[in-house]
């Protein structure tokens, strides 16, 4: 990714910007909304322990240290995926998030909540970095 960031720098005009959007590396959460409340079901893991998130951050730190870019502005936001049921969300993740890992404990907690409150909406919640970077020439 360091190579890619160096190449991006070459593709930018003077007075241009790079915007970097990516998960912040915290564990992704399964949430069960229930009226005004919400229940925490558990975390989603990845088979590689989200290693690519940390590699991406290390690559960004490297090009910042090299002086290729400087951070103009940074923030975070919450990104959510909504499903009508835990099963629907699990099927979606199995198809679209190849290294997602949902533990038996999480599945059991989702089932316990379904049994207690009927099958209901589930949210996958993650925190995401967003950064505005100025290329330095």
């Amino acid at each position: 990714m360091v190579h890619a960031l160096r190449e991006i720098h070459k593709l930018l005009k003077p007075s241009s910007f790079l915007i970097d959007i990516r998960p912040n590396g915290e564990l992704v959460e399964f949430i069960r909304p229930h009226g005004e409340e919400e229940f925490f079901i558990g975390h989603m893991h990845e088979t590689d322990d989200y290693i690519e998130y940390f590699q991406a951050e290390a690559a960004m730190q490297k090009v910042l240290a090299e002086g290729l870019f400087k951070i103009e502005k940074a923030g975070e936001f919450t990104f959510q995926v909504h499903a009508d049921s835990f099963l629907e969300l699990k099927n979606f993740l199995d198809e679209n998030w190849s290294d997602s890992l949902i533990t038996e404990e999480v599945i059991a907690e989702a089932k316990r909540l379904d049994d207690a409150h009927e099958v209901g909406k589930v949210i996958l919640r993650e925190r995401v970095y967003i950064k505005l970077l100025l290329p330095v020439f």
Binding site: R22, K73, K131
Partner: protein, 99 residues
């Protein structure tokens, strides 16, 4: 109800909070996926070149492209391959969930 990604539109709000000089800009989006984010900002810029290396995801973006988004150029290409051949320079590069 189908799976809904970011129905709160937090992503586009964060993007517009971060940067607000989009008008007339040329944008290179790296990792445009199914176009979820692309369609939300492309109407206010002059040009978008969107790269998505996954063939199926790229096909989904082409299929679902809104009619008013014809100015968005969608390429089924990885960034390295694109960078080797490209001569154009851009006002903005958007590294979109590209780890």
């Amino acid at each position: 109800m189908p799976i809904l990604k970011d129905p709160e539109k937090n992503e586009i709000k964060a993007l517009f909070d971060l940067y607000d000089h989009w008008a007339g800009k040329s944008v290179l989006e790296i990792g445009s996926g199914d176009g979820r984010l692309t369609w939300r900002y492309a109407n206010i810029v002059a040009r978008v070149l969107a790269l998505e290396p996954d063939k199926e995801t790229h096909a989904a973006a082409l299929k679902d492209r809104p009619s008013e988004m014809e100015h968005v150029q969608l390429l089924n290409l990885g960034f390295d391959e694109f960078a080797r051949k490209n001569k154009e320079r851009f006002d903005l590069a958007l590294l979109s969930w590209s780890l």
